[in-house]
């Protein structure tokens, strides 16, 4: 259904969903870039963030507190997972790392299902962000606009942390060569723990701010994990700017293809990923692998 109003609507929608995808993917890519671990529990982190926010929201009635509590909870969960489980797998083959993070994801999902059941849970947006905003011939849910702004702001904060702080410098150096960073006397393990926490928090934070848009179910992270994986591959594995670019491109692909025929939107996403892998295997903004 290609009309001007629909084209502009879908273009904007692609931007909005792309920003959220970028935020989730940035967590995945930071963890992979620094630790070399592809965290398949990332979708579960996204879901867990939503549920943590749900619990805090129902305990306090405040959406702001829900966001803060949820994000803090996820940074702790992420840090603990690194300390207790993931740390012991750095020297193991990649397939072991994939299996253990996949397993962690299943355990988290089933624990949430045990606690909350399979019926979906709803978190209401703050009252000032309810309703729709007319934008010319486009009507868009106000809260989705807010989500886009928050996601963009969160990405900006992450950028500042990574590129303007000492921690960020160490993380980026770790992405380049973690062995050398260790030799320089920096406690790499502590940095790794913090990075895993920040990565989990990025997903969890996205999960909370996205909670009023979707209704929460224990399985909600599954499809997101696949999409973020595609985003990271398109943008360049381990590249923070790549995650942002990949997120926006993926959002637009999904939205604009839907305008023509929704049945092909996911197919198109994978087609573009294949194309990128063929023409530029390291991703759009990724560096060629040293291995």
């Amino acid at each position: 259904m290609i009309t001007w109003p629909n084209f502009v609507s879908q273009l904007f929608n692609g931007l909005a969903s792309g920003a959220l995808l970028a935020l989730i993917s940035s967590g995945l890519t930071i963890i992979y870039g620094t630790l070399g671990v592809l965290n398949l529990a990332h979708g579960a982190m996204f879901m867990l963030g939503g549920y943590a926010g749900y619990v805090a929201y129902h305990a306090t009635g405040s959406f702001t507190i829900a966001v803060i509590v949820g994000a803090a909870f996820l940074i702790v969960v992420g840090g603990l997972l690194e300390l207790v489980v993931v740390r012991h797998f750095y020297s193991r083959p990649p397939e072991d790392q994939l299996l253990v993070t996949f397993g962690i994801g299943i355990v988290i999902v089933e624990l949430v299902r045990l606690g909350f059941g399979s019926l979906s849970k709803t978190v209401l947006p703050p009252s000032w962000a309810m309703g729709v905003t007319p934008m010319g011939f486009l009507i868009y849910p106000t809260y989705r606009i807010v989500v886009t702004v928050i996601a963009a702001a969160a990405l900006a904060v992450l950028y500042l942390v990574l590129y303007r702080t000492r921690l960020g410098m160490i993380v980026r150096a770790g992405i380049e060569d973690s062995g050398m960073v260790g030799m320089l006397g920096i406690n790499v393990y502590r940095v790794f723990m913090v990075v895993f926490g920040i990565g989990a928090m990025a997903a969890g934070f996205a999960g909370i701010i996205n909670a009023p848009v979707v209704s929460l179910t224990p399985d909600m992270g599954d499809s997101i994990l696949v999409e973020t994986f595609v985003v990271v591959v398109i943008g360049g594995v381990g590249s923070f700017p790549g995650a942002i670019l990949g997120g926006l491109i993926s959002g637009e692909i999904l939205s604009l293809t839907s305008m023509i025929d929704p049945a092909y939107s996911e197919v198109m996403l994978f087609a573009v990923m294949t194309l990128v892998l063929m023409l530029r295997p390291q991703g759009l903004l990724g560096m060629p692998s040293r291995e």
Partner: protein
């Protein structure tokens, strides 16, 4: 030469003749036993003191909530069968304890609403446990796959929730049976009401899940409204099962100029797409219609959204006011699980009760005999009144329930989401048995 011997009928000869007659009458029974070679899991599956049922329901994924509800219905039915509960005897009057005196056991596996997972799990139940009955599905893709497995393995399959026309249409099998309503009957039941309420020549937008259930239900509803009311289709948004976000589909709907949104999505997909349609302000300009209702929809999206919405469904608990079996079932379910059963649970309970009834009437677990007991077309008292099986396609002839969402202020109890408007008799809603290409296949 004519015989002059007069045959006298004596008491002794009467007894002899009677005895011979009785023996002759009994003969087919013994002869049949001799003609019943092993078939599928028969007789191995029923030679002990118990029989085994394989249950595959989605316990994860977008249909998990309905899968859990369905499972509760199965469990309650097994409990009632094994204890000879009066509730199940209302449906299967010959039931004493167990089925044909054997205890019913079962195994449960998560189908994830995926045909492959369900077929693998049921194959294991057949091989390891000698399952004599398979059940479970909340996706017609699973039901169709298990239909085929049932026919191949010669093990009976009673479908869980399955709304596709294909389940008892082009993919019907001799070994498969469906209790629930489906696309054709849903469309024929809700269609007249929609035309009466909203008039002719309207524009409809559809949200359709991309598999056999979605396609057949959408087509049935679209065809009915077009043929009888001149309704046109502004857009049909086909989405994959478990889509994480409906925004791009909903923008297409919002920009389509439709008067009505007919949401055929099911499970959590129905919940999410309806909630997001509300977020996009779609219900300010078009009215929601639910042609094939998913359990728990009103509870999850909230009665504010479902207020005034027309839906076709299989069962709603307030039918207890009309049918004694429904009253007894709802009370027993509420006692066991603490909430009113949704239609997935009702479907599950009825399927087991009617299977037990068929076995009791057949007097054996030999599958062809049980199938013939189903096909006899006996009238059965159910939670939606009197029903019977159609021999030609193994579809239960049963009414479709038309409901309308209650506004929060009109709800008498927290579970009182829907008002039953009509119980539309089933037979006139159904297509001719071969209209969707059903060929049942062989008994053996």
């Amino acid at each position: 030469m004519q015989s002059d011997i007069t045959v006298r009928t004596t008491r002794r000869s009467m007894l002899k003749a009677g005895g011979t007659l009785i023996a002759a009458a009994a003969l087919p029974r013994f002869a049949r036993a001799a003609n019943e070679p092993p078939l599928g899991t028969w007789p191995a599956g029923s030679s002990g003191s118990s029989v085994f049922i394989g249950i595959t329901v989605p316990l994860t994924g977008t249909y998990a909530d309905s899968g859990e509800d369905e499972l509760k219905g199965y469990k309650l039915a097994v409990e009632h069968l094994n204890s000879g509960d009066p509730v199940i005897k209302m449906i299967s009057p010959k039931t004493t304890k167990g089925v044909l005196g054997k205890e019913v056991k079962y195994g449960v596996a998560d189908s994830e609403a995926k045909p492959n997972s369900a077929v693998q799990a049921q194959s294991r139940f057949i091989a390891d446990n000698k399952a004599i009955l398979m059940t479970g599905s909340t996706s017609s893709a699973v039901a169709v796959a298990l239909n085929k497995l049932a026919q191949r393995e010669k093990v009976l399959y009673v479908a869980g929730v399955s709304g596709s026309n294909d389940t008892t249409g082009k993919d019907c099998v001799r070994y498969g049976f469906r209790q629930s309503f489906y696309g054709q009957t849903a469309a024929a039941a809700i269609g007249p009401l929609l035309l009466k309420q909203f008039g002719k020549n309207k524009k409809a937008a559809y949200l359709t899940p991309d598999y056999t259930y979605g396609h057949t239900v959408q087509k049935s509803v679209e065809d009915y409204l077009a043929k009888n009311g001149g309704w046109t289709t502004a857009t049909n948004q086909v989405a994959p099962l478990g889509a994480p976000d409906y925004s791009s589909y909903l923008l297409n709907v919002a920009n389509s100029g439709a008067d009505f949104l007919l949401n055929i999505n099911w499970g959590h997909d129905a919940v999410l797409s309806t909630q997001q349609a509300e977020q996009f302000g779609i219900f300010n300009k078009m009215k929601l219609i639910i042609p094939y209702q998913t359990p728990f929809i009103a509870k999850q999206v909230g009665p504010k959204i479902t207020a005034g919405v027309y839906a076709a469904t299989d069962f709603w608990w307030t039918l207890e006011d009309r049918y004694p079996v429904a009253k007894a079932f709802v009370a027993a379910f509420q006692k066991a699980y603490g909430y009113k059963p949704e239609w997935g649970a009702n479907n599950a309970y009825m399927q087991f009760a009617m299977w037990a009834d068929a076995c009791e009437h057949a007097g054996t677990f030999y599958p062809p005999a049980v199938i013939k007991a189903y096909e006899a077309g006996r009238h059965i008292d159910s939670t939606v009144g009197e029903v019977y099986w159609r021999a030609a396609d193994h579809q239960l002839v049963r009414p479709v329930i038309i409901v309308r969402g209650k506004a929060p202020s009109a709800m008498k109890t927290p579970d009182d989401y829907w008002e039953v408007l009509e119980v539309v008799p089933g037979a006139p809603l159904m297509q001719a048995p071969d209209a969707f290409g059903c060929h049942l296949g062989e008994y053996t």
